[in-house]
């Protein structure tokens, strides 16, 4: 454990005073000294000194054995006889430090109980603290009465001690502490600042699962006075919790308590200002108007002389920049001066914030500053910077040259695996997304593998070069780098290099003869795998390449994917037993077993009004796209336009739970039925959905993909595809009938019977509505987007919406009918307002950009009138949007 602390005897300070009073302190000696505690005539001063020595040992990390601790503890209990206050205070502390075991506690309980009822306030407070530290549940019952009393003690120290005890005891004995809530409630009203702080914390912990109570607490306290900055911070936290929960219920209307948060921005304590600013920036779907006062105060702190405040400010702004980059741009100048901050945490946060908020013109200047900065930070920070640069490059593709250069420069410098991997990944992504960057990017990667110490990265890069290199203008220049790997590297890299060479041979006819020469040399490699690969590729490539069939086969073999999910392949291979029958890759099931998507209803995370398209739905679409692309029947449908959120087709807790996702293509619609079998005694096989489309004239069924088997509690999918008029938003109603073979399962053995029975199950109807053809896609500047669209295509009309509950409710329902993305926070309607303007943006099927301006007005009798102005790239679509509203 710890080195015992000894002040070195130094020539400069050989003064006696420089010796540590604890020089050469040994546990054994101190334990001997502790015997003075047993003296009939107690020397309080000396006892206090011994306790100090014990504390010193404990604070050095010295461990006492069980026997030693017990011995000291028993001796210490004798000290309760002394009336000396200094000694008593030390005794309380050492008891806590020794943390006696349950069977020993009993020795001090009576002394402590006596102190708890002492006339001396400080005895009471300390006894409470010690007791609550060492006590267990049974003892707590005995002292509960005193603790309850102590909470409302007129001495604030006693009250605080009891309250803080309560906070700790709540972890171990919640049911007891919860009974104190009336007393704690009284504490919240206390005039002593600390008592209020502790009471507030405890009360919230007691009531945290009772939303209404928390909301009431916040309401009363935000109106009243909170005495200490610490309590104020707690209150802000609880307030933002209440705001968070209430905004979950209604997305519209004025945000409650916002005024309170804003007023806290003007508080005199920095702690409170920051807490309020952070609470505001973390509000869900916060608008730029709400953000701006918080950003302003944070900006002031950026130039504070205290590192803590600079750090706190830049850390908060960095987070805001992830979601609302435009709101933070006003701080850019202050942020730039922080790049040279001595504290590297601050500097890194400043840089990554700038990378998120910067505009195209500032990129070059920024890169220059970062280059100087990179040399003196740790890998951990560098990775953050690299990732920020990658997204910056994707944002401003024209700047790829300087950013790619930067990446290649840092790739050459020293660094660990994670850092190098981040750089390589970034370059690969840039090559994929920015065609102009391909040649230079590949060249940088080639340079890198010449001197790369990481096998994993080398093989990844070789694989990538094999796919991309042959398609460049001069593929031959890569061969040298690749063949160098065969000469210089370890077996894993050599094998990868051989595969890469083969890919060049297959794709570039002019190189093929020379590649064959190189591959032949690889046949003399000392490693089996390298030789095997060389032989295999020589054989594949060596055939008569002029025959079209063979060439296609070779390319499929080298470039094609396995076409089966790797998990399934692994499973099949594991269960394969070596025999005369060769392993058949076609026997591997292509279906992915478990549902790949988290389709549980995510808590209503509303996308923000600003910036690009909402991110969550996009990633879901990606996953759907991947899933659908695995199904050959749907491969000819083209690009997936939109996938709806799952619609439940069965009631909760029925035998078979089914929901459906509507996938819209230009000329097709695919229904993905997600089915779950909730009966353990059944196995369903050959599950299909029979769809009656008689009420959907424009649709005709073209394919149906059954689900082979649906065991208990393991969701699976079946699909039905329809053809529809190309590019048109056809609508209709579909009725659904689930059909399947059901087999009984013996719950004990989990084996199904051989024989099955055909059965069916009625599901609810499903509709395709116009909203299904609208993608929520935001625009960053609505005004510009609106003006850049031809006014000729504008269609304006007015509608009466009848009597509505509120203006906010009317706005919300129109947004839902149109299924478009609200822009610039205009979906929020201030309460009591008589009129409101709402801006929406989206993309309609056929990739037609649509913008909508809605103006609402409400009269005394709650009659709502609406003016709808639509601009789109196609006048017919503008008309169509009006039809959607008119028909709704």
């Amino acid at each position: 454990m710890a080195r015992p602390y000894v002040v070195k005897k130094d020539d400069d300070h050989d003064d006696e005073a420089e010796y540590s009073p604890f020089l050469g302190l040994e546990k054994g000696t101190v334990l001997q000294e502790a015997r003075v505690f047993n003296d009939p005539q107690l020397d309080a001063r000396r006892c206090a000194q011994v306790i100090t020595k014990l504390l010193y040992l404990l604070n050095q990390g010295e461990a006492f054995t069980k026997v030693e601790a017990t011995e000291v503890f028993f001796a210490v209990t004798k000290l309760f006889q002394s009336k000396d206050t200094t000694l008593r205070r030390m005794v309380y502390l050492i008891i806590k430090e020794l943390s006696p075991s349950a069977d020993e506690v009993i020795i001090v309980t009576s002394s402590l109980m006596k102190d708890m009822n002492s006339k001396i306030d400080m005895y009471r407070a300390n006894a409470i603290r010690v007791l609550s530290k060492i006590t267990d549940g049974t003892l707590l019952m005995q002292i509960e009465r005193y603790l309850k009393q102590a909470i409302v003690d007129k001495n604030p120290v006693v009250a605080s001690a009891a309250l803080v005890s309560g906070i700790h005891l709540l972890q171990t004995n919640p049911e007891i502490v919860k009974r104190w809530s009336n007393e704690v409630q009284e504490g919240v009203q206390s005039r002593a600042a600390l008592v209020q702080f502790h009471a507030l914390a405890l009360l919230h912990q007691i009531r945290q699962n009772d939303r209404l109570a928390v909301s009431k607490l916040v309401t009363s306290l935000t109106r009243g006075s909170v005495r200490s900055p610490l309590a104020q911070c707690l209150l802000i936290r609880y307030t933002s919790q209440v705001i968070h929960e209430s905004s979950m219920n209604s997305q519209t209307g004025e945000r409650p308590f916002f005024d309170y948060l804003e007023s806290c921005l003007r508080h005199k304590a920095e702690l409170v200002i920051f807490e309020a600013a952070r609470a505001i920036t973390e509000l869900s779907s916060v608008t730029s108007r709400e953000l701006s006062p918080a950003i302003t105060v944070l900006q002031l702190f950026l130039s504070s002389s205290k590192p803590i405040l600079r750090f706190a400010a830049v850390r908060t702004l960095n987070k805001v920049a992830m979601t609302h980059p435009l709101s933070v741009t006003s701080c850019n100048i202050d942020m730039e001066s922080l790049i040279s901050d001595q504290n590297r945490s601050i500097a890194t946060l400043a840089i990554t914030t700038l990378l998120k908020t910067g505009n195209e013109s500032s990129v070059d200047r920024l890169m220059k500053q970062i280059t100087n900065f990179m040399s003196d930070i740790a890998d951990e920070f560098k990775i953050v910077v690299v990732e920020a640069i990658r997204s910056l490059c994707l944002k401003f593709p024209l700047k790829y040259r300087s950013l790619m250069n930067f990446l290649s420069n840092i790739l050459r410098e020293e660094g660990g695996f994670e850092y190098k991997k981040a750089i390589v990944d970034s370059i690969v992504i840039l090559i994929r997304d920015i065609p102009d960057a391909k040649e230079s990017g590949l060249f940088h990667l080639c340079e890198f593998i010449e001197d790369c110490e990481f096998t994993y990265l080398s093989t990844q890069i070789l694989h990538f070069i094999g796919n991309e290199g042959p398609k460049t203008s001069d593929p031959s220049k890569y061969i040298r780098y690749i063949y160098n790997r065969v000469i210089l590297e370890n077996a894993t890299v050599r094998a990868s290099a051989v595969s890469t060479l083969a890919k060049f041979g297959a794709m570039v006819d002019s190189l093929k003869p020379r590649i064959l020469v190189l591959l032949r040399r690889c046949q003399f490699d000392i490693d089996d795998e390298v030789r095997d690969r060389a032989t295999l590729y020589l054989d594949t490539l060596g055939g008569d390449a002029s025959v079209g069939e063979t060439e296609k086969y070779v390319k499929d073999f080298l470039f094609g994917s396995l076409d089966v999910p790797l998990v399934n392949l692994e499973k099949s291979l594991r269960s394969y037993e070596a025999s005369d029958m060769p392993f058949d890759i076609y026997s591997v099931p292509k279906e992915i077993k478990s549902q790949p998507l988290a389709e549980k209803k995510a808590p209503g995370r509303k996308p923000t009004g600003l910036g690009g398209p909402p991110c969550a739905p996009v990633s879901a679409v990606d996953a759907y796209e991947k899933l659908l692309s695995l199904i050959p029947e749907f491969s000819s449908f083209g690009k997936l336009f939109k996938s709806s959120t799952p619609v439940e087709l069965s009631e909760a807790e029925t035998e078979y739970a089914v929901n459906v996702v509507k996938h819209i293509y230009d000329g097709h619609v695919v229904f993905q039925y997600n089915c779950t079998n909730t009966i353990p005694e059944q196995l369903l096989e050959n599950v299909t959905v029979f769809v009656d489309a008689s009420e959907a004239e424009d649709f005709s069924e073209v394919a149906s993909k059954p689900l082979r088997s649906l065991p208990y509690d393991s969701p699976g999918q079946t699909f039905v595809a329809f053809e529809k008029p190309y590019g048109l938003p056809a609508t209709g109603r579909f009725s659904n009938l689930l059909k399947f073979f059901v087999k009984e399962v013996d719950p004990a053995t989990v084996e199904a019977e051989e024989e099955g029975v055909e059965d069916e199950y009625q599901l609810e109807d499903l509709e395709i509505v116009p909203v299904d053809y609208m993608l929520k896609v935001g625009v960053s500047n609505f005004k510009n987007a609106w003006e850049s669209m031809a006014p000729d295509n504008e269609r304006v009309d007015e509608y009466g919406l009848g009597a509505r509950e509120s203006l906010a409710e009317a706005v919300c329902s129109v947004i839902n009918i149109l299924g478009m993305q609200p822009c610039e926070g205009t979906e929020v309607v201030p309460s009591n307002s008589r009129s409101h303007a709402c801006l929406l943006s989206g993309i309609f099927i056929g990739n037609v950009k649509v913008l909508v301006r809605l103006s609402f007005g409400v009269d005394e009798s709650k009659q709502v009138a609406m003016k709808l102005a639509v601009r789109s790239e196609d006048p017919n679509i503008s008309e169509r949007i009006h039809e959607i509203v008119a028909e709704a």
Binding site: P21, N59, G61, T85, I308, R344, S345, D379, E380
Partner: protein, 190 residues
């Protein structure tokens, strides 16, 4: 509970940990407890450490840090101070962080003081805490202490810490009140 290891092998200029010393899933400055109030783990002041300028430990107190991780924390903090505290003015606060673990540290006379926290105990709360600690230590010693002076008042300093932090939570924040409390005198505002 709570903290996991920092990597003592840290970046010498930045004084930052290279590896993630936080528990999994606390990626954001955690409002998680706010949003998932049933989570029973309380926010903690994870550690308070006093050393002399050579990095020898004077006081170390951990809360919710498993015994086997303490040694790592200690060497991490000592290295952090060795790299960054030289030439720092008395009581000037320095900060380091990684994800949700924060370190605020300073020098007072010949004594280096470090506090480590997470979640609610972020850099601002820790700054409050270290301010209370430094002012109480000055109060007890009468001035920014030398090592000897600090050790001479060791017992009292332990009592101060006992009043300031209780099982990883901030309790008292006023030095005058603390001065009276450690002598078992009721505070004046009582």
């Amino acid at each position: 509970m709570g903290a996991s290891l920092p990597n003592p092998d840290l970046d010498s200029q930045g004084g930052q940990q290279k590896k993630d010393p936080t528990t999994a899933g606390t990626e954001e400055r955690s409002r998680s407890r706010l949003l998932h109030p049933s989570n029973p783990i309380p926010e903690m002041i994870l550690a308070v450490l006093f050393t002399n300028t050579d990095g020898n430990i004077l006081v170390e107190r951990f809360h919710g840090v498993p015994a086997e991780e303490r040694l790592h924390w200690r060497s991490f903090l000592v290295k952090l101070g060795a790299d960054n505290l030289k030439g720092t003015k008395n009581e000037e606060l320095l900060v380091a962080s990684h994800k949700s673990v924060f370190v605020v540290y300073t020098i007072l006379g010949d004594v280096c003081i470090y506090v480590v926290g997470k979640d609610e105990y972020d850099e601002l709360a820790l700054a409050e805490l270290i301010f209370v600690i430094t002012s109480s230590v000055k109060d007890v010693c009468g001035k920014p202490p030398t090592e000897r002076l600090f050790l001479d008042h060791y017992g009292k300093i332990c009592l101060c810490l006992d009043e300031i932090i209780w099982k990883g939570m901030l309790e008292n924040t006023d030095k005058d009140r603390i001065r009276r409390l450690i002598r078992l005198k009721a505070p004046t505002d009582a």
